[in-house]
């Protein structure tokens, strides 16, 4: 969709809202009729029924609502003869007419304002869309120069006033100008001299004020620029906060922000000064005119050159002049302001050459199964600074051919792959696909038939599943999946998009291109996903992610029931494997060594992690029970020991010492507080402590896990008493607290725990170094046998990976990037060091798997792989060796190995 943003804002508005502007102008003119009638009516009420004009006798009547039109050639046409009314009925009749006019005026105003508002909002929607549309069409190099936050701030904030101005852009000047001219004309009619004086003053006002406001505009522009840069800097701080911490530069950032805010303040303050100065001059000029009327007009009247009636009429008419004049000047100010903003924003969004809109046209067509050979002719690549990444290269890549690019880092292979992936544009030469230039090819072909994998794949905010399928979503091809009730909304969306002139693409459609994934439909997709995940060696990661996190499983049918059923089988299997000792089960009668004292006391989980009314342990019921069972003293002593040990261990360390990260139950700031508590309590028992000290220490005891902290504070009798407490606690439990806790129950799925805890119904012993791997091995086998493995993997697909995939490790991100690419069927696959973060053994294994998989596909795709490890080059048909931006060898791996010592060296590295 092409829409020219170039030119003035007024032009843009006129082009897109011409018809609506004329319509609203007509409505405004029409609204003048009841408006002036309403102004006229009070006079008639006063003169007529109240003062009695025309009602000279009590029986006298007047015609009401007599309506006739004087038309040229036809003479007077009587529309309505009117009705005769007496004085009192006339009063009421006129009053009701007045009321009716008030309502009509109000309705007109309401209609006009909403209409103008809607007009503005639609145009704003259009401008914003056009801007983002341009971002999507910027050439890749542009993104190295711009800051994301600045672009976002322009699209979001800076264009906002443009919408507000749209409704007034044409109607206001016409209307206000008309009013002012009428008033001026009337003054001229009364006296040419006074009219000329008034006109001269208006002229001064109209020329001087805009000149003064020039400075205001400059300041406004500066304000906009500095604010935008400020937004860019804040965005940069957020993105780079890791580096800021690492190099202790937070204060440099503070200084920079302080400086910027200072500059913004100065500009804004100067703006205020000018604004009110202009206002002062403006109102002075407006007030000086009446002074001239009184002095000069009065003088003329005294001299007899002007009669008093005329002077009064002039003063009366002048009353109507400053209002519209001021509004007109204000409008002009607003106009210049938004014009400047518009020009600036459009300037920032104008890049040459922009990707042509046709290249990105929506295409629901199936992509061509096979692209012809790719030919590079004099392909030259350079970076921003102009240094050459790739010297002119002439190469040909054939369909179904597998090519390994090897060389030292930055040898040219990476840049070559990036150019094929359209991540950088050639500085000279071209890449041809048959007859066409790769860059002129619609993205519907180049973006589907060529799959590019970057070394640092980018992920969108969403789940693993969303990101895996991202490469399949080219066009809304499936049926709309929303509920029938939402169809009304959908209809509205379509109409509104049309009115705002933005394309209507249904987001609720199934965008997944199943053919492109090589499957028949949604029912086969999961099998494909599992296969791809396996190829990218992501299965284990995904299973762990599925088991270790909590998901809403309410839509998973019988899964939770099956998980509970599996508990018994799992125990038996682990016993058989001799591993049952590695799990510490949730046994109501036994203390769980791997859980905290607090968890052991409750034998359950809080339903809400941070309940608004405080935790269960803060309730009076719990506290009373702790005191009653005598556990209070035991836990108090325990807390005291923990505090003493911790103060002893950490007391001398500075609060920002990294060791504090290992201290889970206390913050560095708490150390002095506990130190004071310990000193206060020296030689005292639990009963002698204050309530606050006591609960502070007891709270500490809740976090204690013996195998983790190893202070030796749990005796066997104490363990028994804690287990006994559980029963007491549940026996008399008030209903409102019961609702807050989910107890461990061997027969039920725990929604507050993850799948792992639910399957094992216990904790993995933290003391055993290899317990985790061994248990997961058994668990994996069992899940396979039970047919739950893939279902649980599917749950893992619902894991949210955070912004840019930050909740995954670098290795996982690279594997996911690879898997996302393998979901697609393409003519060519371009892998640009996709597994650089992995160790060599692991990388070799995945390269092998991916090659096996892709070469089994029919038709076989062309593969271009920039290897980080040349040892795998033997898997490919052809090897191209790059050295300092030039391909130095090209041929089958064996031949290249014979000829090139560098390749041999790289192979053995």
């Amino acid at each position: 969709m092409e829409s020219a943003l170039e030119g003035s804002l007024a032009g843009y508005i006129w082009r897109h809202t011409r018809r609506q502007q004329i319509w609203v102008l007509c409505i405004v003119l029409l609204s003048m009729v009841p408006y002036f009638l309403a102004l006229d009516l009070p006079k008639r009420i006063v003169n007529g029924p109240l003062q009695g004009h025309g009602f000279d006798t009590p029986e006298a009547t007047q015609t009401f609502l007599h309506l006739s039109l004087s038309l040229p050639f036809l003479g007077t046409v009587e529309v309505f003869p009117g009705i005769s009314l007496g004085r009192t009925p006339m009063l009421f009749a006129l009053s009701f007419v007045f009321l009716a006019l008030v309502v009509i005026n109000g309705l007109f105003k309401y209609y006009i304002n909403t209409y103008k508002g809607r007009l503005g909002e639609r145009l704003l929607r259009r401008i914003r869309f056009d801007l983002v549309d341009r971002v999507l069409r910027f050439p890749p190099a542009t993104f190295k120069r711009i800051k994301p936050a600045e672009i976002a701030s322009m699209v979001k904030d800076e264009v906002e006033p443009l919408g507000g101005f749209t409704g007034d852009s044409f109607v206001s000047p016409l209307l206000l100008g008309g009013q002012a001219l009428t008033a001026l004309g009337f003054i001229f009619l009364q006296s040419v001299l006074i009219g000329s004086i008034t006109a001269a003053l208006v002229l001064v006002q109209a020329t001087l004020i805009p000149r003064l406001r020039k400075r205001l505009l400059i300041l406004g522009r500066q304000r906009q620029l500095t604010a935008r840069e400020f937004a860019g800097r804040v965005g940069e701080i957020v993105e780079g906060v890791g580096t800021i911490h690492a190099y202790d530069t937070s204060n440099l950032e503070r200084a920079d922000i302080g400086r910027r805010l200072g500059i913004i303040f100065r500009i804004r303050y100067e703006l205020y000064q000018w604004k009110f100065m202009v206002k002062f001059i403006n109102s002075f000029l407006a007030q000086v005119t009446p002074f001239l009327f009184y002095s000069l007009g009065g003088y003329l009247t005294l001299r007899g050159q002007l009669d008093l009636g005329q002077l009064v009429a002039v003063i009366g008419a002048y009353k109507d002049l400053p209002g519209p004049m001021k509004d007109l000047i204000d409008w002009d100010q607003a106009r210049q302001d938004v014009e400047v903003k518009f020009a600036q924003v459009v300037g920032a969004f104008t890049v040459n050459p922009m990707i042509r809109p046709e290249v990105q046209a929506v295409s629901t067509a199936a992509h061509p199964a096979r692209l012809p050979p790719l030919a590079m002719t004099n392909l030259t690549l350079a970076d921003d600074s102009g240094s050459v990444l790739l010297h002119p290269v002439n190469l040909r890549l054939n369909p179904a051919e597998s090519v390994a690019l090897v060389g030292k880092t930055a040898g040219g292979g990476e840049a070559f792959a990036e150019a094929l992936g359209r991540q950088i544009w050639p500085s000279a030469g071209r890449i041809s696909v048959g007859e066409d230039n790769l860059l002129d090819l619609p993205e519907a072909i180049s973006g589907r038939a060529i799959t590019y994998v970057a070394p640092e794949p980018f992920f969108l905010f969403g789940t693993i599943g969303d990101n895996l399928l991202y490469g399949l979503k080219h066009a809304p091809i499936g049926a709309n999946r929303s509920a029938p009730a939402d169809q009304v909304t959908r209809h509205w969306e379509r109409i509104e998009a049309e009115r705002a002139g933005t394309p209507d693409l249904d987001l609720d459609c199934d965008w997944t291109d199943y053919a492109s994934a090589g499957v028949a439909g949604p029912q086969d997709l999961m099998a494909r996903v599992i296969e791809v995940i396996e190829t990218a060696e992501l299965t284990e990661d995904l299973l762990t992610i599925a088991l270790r996190n909590r998901y809403d499983l309410s839509a998973e049918g019988d899964l939770t029931r099956r998980v509970v059923q599996m508990r018994g089988t799992l125990v038996a299997t682990l016993e058989q494997a001799g591993l049952s000792g590695l799990i510490i089960p949730f046994d109501p009668e036994a203390y769980n060594e791997a859980a905290t004292v607090g968890e052991n006391l409750l034998f359950g989980h809080a339903v809400d992690d941070r309940p608004p009314g405080g935790t269960v342990r803060d309730t009076a019921y719990f506290r009373a029970l702790i005191a009653e069972t005598g556990l209070q003293t035991a836990l108090f002593d325990m807390g005291r020991e923990i505090a003493a040990n911790t103060v002893d261990l950490f007391g001398d360390l500075p609060p920002d010492h990294p060791f504090f990260q290992r201290l889970t139950f206390m913050a560095a700031e708490d150390i002095p507080r506990y130190d004071r508590i310990l000193q206060r309590l020296q030689g005292r028992s639990a009963d002698q402590a204050t309530d606050e000290d006591r609960s502070d220490l007891i709270a500490l005891s809740f976090h204690y896990v013996e195998p983790l902290h190893r202070f030796g504070l749990l005796t066997e009798p104490l363990r028994t008493r804690i287990t006994a407490f559980r029963r007491r606690f549940r026996e008399g439990l008030p209903a409102e607290i019961a609702a807050e806790i989910e107890f461990y129950d061997p027969a039920r799925y725990m929604t507050t725990a993850n799948l792992q805890a639910n399957l094992l119904f216990g904790r993995i012993d933290p003391r055993e170094a290899t317990s985790h791997e061994r248990i997961y091995e058994v668990l994996r086998d069992l899940l396979h046998r039970e047919g739950l493995h893939d279902r649980i993997l599917a749950i893992g697909l619902g894991y949210h990976i955070g912004t840019g995939g930050k909740r995954l490790t670098t290795v996982q991100r690279q594997k996911l990037g690879l898997a996302r690419a393998l979901m697609r069927r393409s003519s060519y696959f371009v892998f640009n060091r996709p597994l650089s973060a992995l160790d060599q053994r692991h990388e070799a294994q995945i390269v092998q798997r991916v090659m096996d998989r892709l070469q089994r596909e029919t038709p076989r795709p062309g593969i271009l792989w920039v290897l980080s490890n040349a040892a795998q080059a033997g898997l490919f048909d052809r090897v191209i060796l790059f050295e300092r931006g030039t391909p130095v060898e090209d041929g089958p791996p064996a031949t290249v190995a014979d000829k090139s010592p560098l390749f041999k060296e790289l192979m053995s590295a």
């Binding site: 261990l649 010492h657 290992r662 933290p766």
Partner: protein, 154 residues
């Protein structure tokens, strides 16, 4: 075994002899206490490593991969430190360590070990002393090996 007992063992590790009991207790507290069954691998040669292990009980084999398979080059028993080369020099594991008997270890993270050396120069000095001692021994062994090879070449 509790913190205090761990400290008793740590005091016998030569590399840590420079640390006071309080420092050792802190090191023990910030480390993970783990058990390995016999035959379990602590780490493999060639892997990147960011932890060291202090063997508190039991014996472990130190193995090196050679063209003829794995060769046992040493056996270490409690109390001793293994895997410290990787965290001190940022190199991949130079050998594989596997439990010969069930063993108990403290797993020490790189950052914490380095921080301990930074904070307590006595520890750092002791580390230098022990490593220099090893280097001297290795050099002596190498000289001897060369010397014994010389007549063979003649």
């Amino acid at each position: 075994m509790l913190l205090n007992e761990e400290v008793q063992i740590l005091r016998q590790v030569p590399l840590l002899a420079g640390a006071s009991p309080a420092h050792l207790k802190l090191l023990a507290f910030t480390s993970d206490r783990l058990r390995y069954e016999a035959g379990a691998t602590l780490f493999r040669q060639g892997e990147a490593g960011d932890v060291a292990y202090i063997i508190l009980s039991g014996t472990a084999d130190v193995l090196v991969t050679s063209p003829r398979g794995e060769i046992r080059v040493a056996q270490v028993s409690a109390p001793s430190l293994v895997g410290e080369i990787s965290i001190l020099c940022d190199v991949a594991r130079t050998a594989t360590v596997r439990a010969a008997t069930p063993i108990e270890v403290l797993r020490v993270r790189k950052e914490e070990f380095l921080k301990l050396m930074q904070d307590f120069p006595d520890v750092a000095l002791q580390v230098v002393r022990v490593l220099a001692g090893r280097l001297a021994r290795t050099t002596a062994e190498l000289t001897e090996a060369r010397a014994s090879q010389l007549p063979a070449q003649d």
